[in-house]
Structures are given as structure tokens and as C-alpha cells.
Amino acid sequence: MTGERRLGGGWAIILAGALLGIAAEVVYWFASQGEGAWVTWNGISAVVLAAMGVAAGAAIASSEEIKRWTTWESILTAVLGGVIGVLFWLWGLFWELLEFIKAGIPGYGYAVRDLFYGLWFLAAILVPYIVRRPGAALAAEMVGAIVSSLLGSQWGLTVLISGLAQGGLAEVVFALRGYKHYDLPTLIAASAGAALGSWIVDYTFWYNTLEMPIVGLMLIARFISAAILSGWLGKVLGDALAATGALDNTALGRARIQG
């Protein structure tokens, strides 16, 4: 029997991401050569390009994987992505306060706001923690982005690109762990990936005129925030939900019974 070795979901994602990232770098480098070139190559642009490429690769490979999910997994992923958005509404006035801080304290205000940014990645951690299939992080983020763009939010269409970058980079972390390990360090690393993705998109759209210290501070704030508000919180909520018995038919539920 000529067994055609199909690329496992995780490896496909890693490979596609790496290839796309490299391709993007090469193209950009060439475009930055010569007099009157339209673009400049530097360290930041290299990171941005690589990350966007990786995220896009993860997206393409994931979408193949997601086609294999069951109905239950798909509906659960989508609905959770949406519900988590409602939890944000709880903090409504608080977000407004943060907006005032952001506007009021020049530059550093952004970093303060970013200390609470991690909540946006909760879906990218909680859903994979429950469902444990390739593509879960990306799916959760993309659904959240699509639903929020349909409902209308202040970020408009850029939320679609953010969702892709956040979900894609979180997905890569889970892929690197083989989709088998969902312990706290993995969740935190995935949340860091999502934070990096969000930072890259926001940098490209809004913040690339600012000094490095400010922008760097924002990145660090996002890392910290992501670790607490999505990495750690994701695990806490996932475990609490599993204790209610509602998740017995999911991968998380099954893992708890054995573990």
C-alpha cells in the first residue's frame, strides 16, 4: 500500500506559515532596493512582514483543518467567540475611562490602555483549550472579528486583519506544541503570540510614527496583559466551565476525566 503521508494539521500550519513569511520577506527586501524605492527595510519591518506572513500561512492551512471539524465544534467555537465579546460590554464604562487616559496622557497613555488589551485574545485561548483541534485559535479570533465587524465597532474593517494576525500567531504556538499540550505555559505562550500579532497590526496602521520606547512599552504591556487576561484567565474559565459538566463532550472534558 502506497501510504501517502498527509501532512499533519500542526505541521501543515507551521510549514505554510514559514514559507509565506519567508516569501514576504524576500519580496519586501527586493522592493526596498534601489533609488526612489517606495519602502524601507529595517528591523521592525522585517518582524512585521515575517509575522504577517506566518499568520497568513497559518490561516490558509487552518482553514483546511477546520473543514474537518464536527458541527458541534464549529458551532461552539463560533458562539463562544461571540459570547466573549458580550463579557467585554460589562467593562463598558471602564473602557471609556481607558480611552480618556489614552487620549489624556500622550504616548504613555497607550501603554496604560494596553495593560488591559489582553482580554481581546481570550477567545483565542479559551476555545483551543476546550476544543483542542488545529485551527481553533484562528477560528475563534476570526469569528469574533467577523461578528464584531457585522455588529459594527469602532475599529471597523481593520478588526478582520487583527483577528487574522492574533489568531494566526496563537495558532502557530499551539501547532508547535503538537496540539497535544495545553498546559499553562503553552496557553501563555499562545497569548503572547496573539499579543504580538495585535501589536504588529496596530503598529502598521496607527503607531509606526512613534518613538521606539513608546511602541516597545506598548508591546511589553500587551504581553503582560495577554498572559493574565487571556492565558491565565482562559485556563481558569475553562476549568470552571468543565467543572459544571457542560463540557463533558469536548476534548477538555474528556481530558479531565482521564487526567
Partner: protein, 585 residues
């Protein structure tokens, strides 16, 4: 050849202590309408999922035995073929649909079958016509009422032209008027499509039993214990049915009790029509008492009303509709009051005012005589307990005992006292074996008991309940009502928002009817059901015995009719055994 042939079906869910269905075997002929009865957890839904071929693929479970439809073992069919044969209507109107508009939803099932568009168009029109929703084709599903949603679910199932319909408690979440309407459409459907085999799971049988050809009973172990025509099954198996808390149609239950008391009845009636014949010789000749037997309506002497609203108006947001309009209602201390009315009439809104969740302006809402705006939250929660419709919404702790202790801990009572009260509550509500469990992991009935118990922990003397028997089987509902009755007898004031006519008829001492934000009626359930126009406006259905009383012309002196089994027993047992019908004008 039987259309459905189930042989030794055993189904066990992963991690379940025992099988959901055990060694179930039966046959159903084509075109039969079969009623499936059983306590909750007896595997009725599981049976539907098996017939539709959803177990084990979509719903993981271990399945043994065979299911044959039209002579073919469904295990040999593909998922597509299996689901084409059985159309299911589920219980929850909120969680069966995935599309935004009515026609999209019906089309969904047809798209999955890869039908061409003109065929889809034809079937959409046809199936919506069968349930009376053609006018609403383009509407959004979330704008439909509960009853319309369930009819839509029926249309979706019908559009796929299955040979078998499985209706899993389709009216559990509907109000009485909607339930009646649903069964009327179902009856019409049966007439139009006599070849469709229908299996229906239900608890409230009065409006349904006329259509049923056969009844099957599953016990709590998932075994099939009874099967046969309704009259025979109910006739011969009283003890089994009682033990499992199966609620018979009201006229049937009455007839059984009369038989047990020694009165001669040639058969057990199932419907009001049949009862009219069977009871003809038993109706009393003498006059009825001037008034129906009264239930204690609470003592108003020497005490302010437990809850009172005076000329209360409310709208949720400026410019929005007025949900409560100059409403006045007083609930006397010690009363057991049922608050009824159509959806959206403002019942829950009013109740939320009584606990200060919605803040009324000063001078409109009073708790034990004091203006609620002058009280602190701690004062209010010490006097009134509010049990929400979904018990899960109120759980704040991780274990049952912590849940009970919560209100006490928040008030910083000494630990010894907390432990004592907690143990007492666990015992009196039958929750002691579950004390360490996560509240969310309890069964529906247990959750409900827990939510009621938590609301009494601080010794509250007033209890408000929002739809306490909603979506429950009769056994659990009855147990809860008995518990409330015990509390009532001990002096607790009870205000229950409900659609459950059994509750109103058998337990409530007073009923208040809310329509369009105003109190249209406050009085005894008897007076309520005597007013047909009011009953229609409140979207209620009176108990069947009221209709029977009307046919016999039985009236108390005040114009109301006997509506409970107890009253009828009293009346009929005192009557002469023979003689012609003694109808009263």
C-alpha cells in the same frame, strides 16, 4: 411489516452510571401516532436521537441492538439517508434554528439535501402552509412568538418529507394558548398526511390525547414497561403511572379516582367529550354550594400586604413602550398568589420591582408596609427571596453547600449557625447527598430545589418565583409545588409567575391577571376561569374540568365552576347512583 422496528435497543452515554435505554423493543405501524411517556431521564429523547440516526455519530453514545425503518437496518445507511427518514422537533424554541429568516431556516434542511432551488421553493411554500406561517416567510425568526417558532420547527421537519416525525416535548416552553394551538395544527397535519408516523413526547396530555393511537411508557431505568392504546394503558396500570408521577388527562385522573372510590364507570374517558358521556349518570341532582371551597387567601387583618404596588408605571428606556401602566396590586401576607398573563404583559417586570432590581420612584412599591426605596438591599433580601426562571443564573458558588451558606456568610453569621441552617436546608430539600457537587452539574429538578432553598436561608417570609415549573416534567413540578405548599402552610407568602394551569388551579389561593401592563383581575382561580373573555385575553386555557362543568351546567351559586379533581370528587360522590342526567340550567 411494521414501519419502525426496534429490537433490544440499549444506549449508554459515556461516563453515565447506567444506560439511558435498556433492552427496548417495540414496533410502530405506518401512520400511527405514538405517545411516549416517562419520567425525566428515562431516555425518551435518546430514543428520538437513535431513530434519527444521530446516535452514535453526532451524539456520542454506545449503542447496541437494532433499529429498522421500513425493514432496513439504519446502521447500514449513511448519515444522510438516516436523517432523511426522521424529522425531529426539539423542545427549546431558542436553540433549534441557525438562520436569520423563516424561509432561510426552512431552506436550510433542504440545502443539506442538495435539492435544486425550484424544488426548495415548492417545499418551503408547502410546509409553511401546513403550519400556517406562509404570511411570515420573510420575517426574522427572533421576531416570532414561542408558539410560532415551534410551528416553524415543525415546518422545517416537514419540508424534508420524512416518513416519521419525532416531537420531543415541543410545547414544554410554551404558554397554554400556544400549546393548544400547536396541537391543533398537529391534528390538522395528521389529517392531511395520514401516512406520516408521529412519535411525540409530552407531559400535559389533555389537548393531545385525542390524536394518540398508542401509548408507550419508559421507566427511569430506560426500560419499556407499558405499551398499548391509551384507554387500556391508563385503565390497567394506575399504580405504575402514579409511582412514576405520570400526569393523566385531568378527566381520566378524575375517573380513576372515582372508580377507586367505588363509583361505577364503564370506561375511563380521555377527553372532555368522552367524559360527558361517561359521567352523565353521576352528575348531582341537588344544588351546588353557593361558593367553591375556599383556600386561605392570606390574612390581611392586622398586617400590611407583603408586597404592594400602587399606581406603578414603568418603561425600560425613555421613548420606549410603557411596560407597566399605572398598576396597582397588593399581595396579602400569607397568600399563595399566581400571577398570570400573556408574554410581555409585564409580570417579570413587576416582580423585579418588588425586589428593587428595577428601581421604582418613591411611594409606589411597598414591602411589608415600608417604602422599598427607604430600605437597603440587605433589608430587602432578608425579607424577600426571588427565584429566577433559570436556576443557573443565581448560582455563585462552586459547591451546593457553599451555595446555601452564601447569603449567611455575606451577612457574617457565626459559622456554627451557618452549618446548622445549611444542614437543615439540605435535609428538607433532599439535597444532602449532593452537598459537595457543583451546582451546575445537578439535574434540572435538583437545581430548582437548590435555588428555592437558597432563597430561604436567611428566613425570608416572602418568596417570589418566576415560572417555577417551566420546562419540567410533571413529577418534578409536582414535588416543587408540594414543597411550596408546605411553606405556604407555614406562613410564607408566595407569589408565583406562571403559565402552568395546574399550579393555578390546584395550589393558588388567589390569581392576578396582568394584561398590557395593567391588572385586569384579582381574585380566586374559580372566578378567573369563569370569565371566558379574560381567559382568552390572558392567553390561558382553563382546566378541562371547567369545560366539562360548563357542558353539564354545573355552577356554584356565585357563577363559578368546579375546576379541580378534589371538588369534583366531592360533588360526584354525593350524587345519586342512578337516574337520568340532572343537568342544571
Amino acid at each position: 411489516m411494521a414501519w419502525i422496528d426496534v429490537r433490544h435497543l440499549t444506549v449508554r452515554y459515556p461516563r453515565a452510571p447506567r444506560p439511558a435505554l435498556q433492552d427496548v423493543s417495540f414496533q410502530v405501524e405506518r401512520g400511527e401516532t405514538l405517545l411516549l411517556l416517562g419520567p425525566s431521564g428515562s431516555g425518551k429523547s435518546t430514543l428520538g436521537l437513535c431513530l434519527a440516526g444521530l446516535i452514535p455519530d453526532s451524539v456520542p453514545a454506545a449503542m447496541q441492538g437494532e433499529v429498522l425503518i421500513a425493514g432496513q437496518d439504519i446502521a447500514a445507511l449513511t448519515v444522510g439517508q438516516r436523517t432523511a427518514q426522521v424529522g425531529i422537533v426539539f423542545q427549546d424554541p431558542e436553540a433549534q434554528f441557525c438562520m436569520l429568516t423563516v424561509e432561510d431556516e426552512v431552506a436550510f434542511g433542504l440545502e443539506n439535501m442538495a435539492l435544486p432551488r425550484d424544488e426548495m421553493e415548492l417545499r418551503i411554500r408547502e410546509s409553511l402552509g401546513l403550519v400556517g406561517l406562509e404570511e411570515r416567510r420573510r420575517e426574522r425568526v427572533d421576531r416570532l412568538s414561542g408558539g410560532q417558532k415551534q410551528r416553524l420547527a415543525l415546518a422545517c421537519a416537514l419540508a424534508r418529507r420524512p416518513s416519521i416525525l419525532f416531537l420531543d416535548e415541543p410545547t414544554a416552553n410554551l404558554d397554554p394558548a400556544a400549546r393548544f394551538e400547536f396541537f391543533q395544527w398537529l391534528a390538522r397535519l395528521r389529517g392531511q398526511q395520514p401516512d406520516t408516523t408521529i412519535i411525540i413526547v409530552e407531559h400535559i396530555l389533555d389537548d393531545l390525547i385525542a390524536m394518540v393511537d398508542r401509548v408507550m411508557l419508559l421507566n427511569h431505568e430506560g426500560r419499556l414497561v407499558l405499551s398499548g392504546a391509551p384507554a387500556q394503558v391508563f385503565q390497567a396500570n394506575g399504580e405504575v403511572l402514579d409511582e412514576m408521577g405520570i400526569w393523566l388527562p385531568q378527566v381520566t385522573a378524575l375517573a380513576r379516582k372515582l372508580r377507586a372510590a367505588g363509583l361505577p364507570l364503564d370506561r375511563l374517558p380521555l377527553t372532555v367529550d368522552e367524559a360527558e358521556e361517561v359521567f352523565a349518570g353521576l352528575v348531582p341532582a341537588g344544588p351546588l354550594p353557593a361558593e367553591p371551597p375556599r383556600r386561605p387567601a392570606g390574612s390581611t387583618a392586622g398586617g400590611p400586604p407583603a408586597l404592594e404596588a400602587r399606581r406603578l408605571s414603568f418603561r425600560y428606556r425613555a421613548g420606549g413602550p410603557e411596560v407597566l401602566r399605572d398598576l396597582s396590586l397588593a399581595v396579602p401576607q400569607g397568600a399563595f398568589m399566581a400571577l398570570v398573563g400573556p408574554n410581555g404583559a409585564g409580570k417579570t417586570t413587576l416582580a423585579l420591582h418588588f425586589v428593587d432590581i428595577l428601581r421604582p420612584p418613591a411611594g409606589h412599591v411597598f414591602l411589608l408596609g415600608e417604602d422599598i426605596t427607604a430600605l437597603t438591599t440587605a433589608d430587602i433580601t432578608a425579607r424577600v427571596g426571588f427565584v429566577f426562571q433559570n436556576p443557573e443564573h443565581q448560582f455563585v458558588e462552586r459547591t451546593v453547600e457553599a451555595e446555601l451558606a452564601y447569603s449567611l456568610r455575606v451577612r457574617r453569621r457565626p459559622e456554627a449557625e451557618i452549618a446548622q441552617i445549611t444542614d437543615a436546608l439540605l435535609a428538607s430539600f433532599g439535597l444532602t447527598p449532593y452537598r459537595k457537587m457543583n451546582p451546575f452539574a445537578l439535574s434540572q429538578g435538583q437545581k430548582r430545589r437548590l435555588s428555592v432553598a437558597t432563597m430561604l436561608a436567611v428566613g425570608q417570609r416572602i418568596l417570589i418565583l418566576d415560572e417555577p415549573t417551566f420546562g419540567q416534567d410533571r413529577n418534578t413540578a409536582h414535588a416543587l409545588m408540594e414543597r411550596l405548599q408546605t411553606l405556604h402552610v407555614a406562613g410564607v407568602t408566595i407569589l408565583a409567575i406562571t403559565h402552568d394551569m395546574q399550579l393555578v388551579a390546584d395550589y393558588a389561593g388567589t390569581a392576578a391577571v396582568l394584561v398590557d401592563g395593567q391588572v385586569r383581575f384579582q381574585g380566586t382561580p374559580h372566578a378567573l376561569f369563569a370569565d371566558e373573555e379574560l381567559v382568552a385575553a390572558a392567553e390561558l386555557r382553563p382546566p378541562p374540568l371547567v369545560e366539562l362543568a360548563r357542558r353539564f351546567g354545573l355552577r356554584y351559586g356565585d357563577g363559578t365552576a368546579p375546576l379541580s379533581i378534589r371538588e369534583w370528587m366531592g360533588l360526584l360522590q354525593g350524587a345519586p347512583a342512578a337516574g337520568g342526567p340532572a343537568k342544571r340550567g
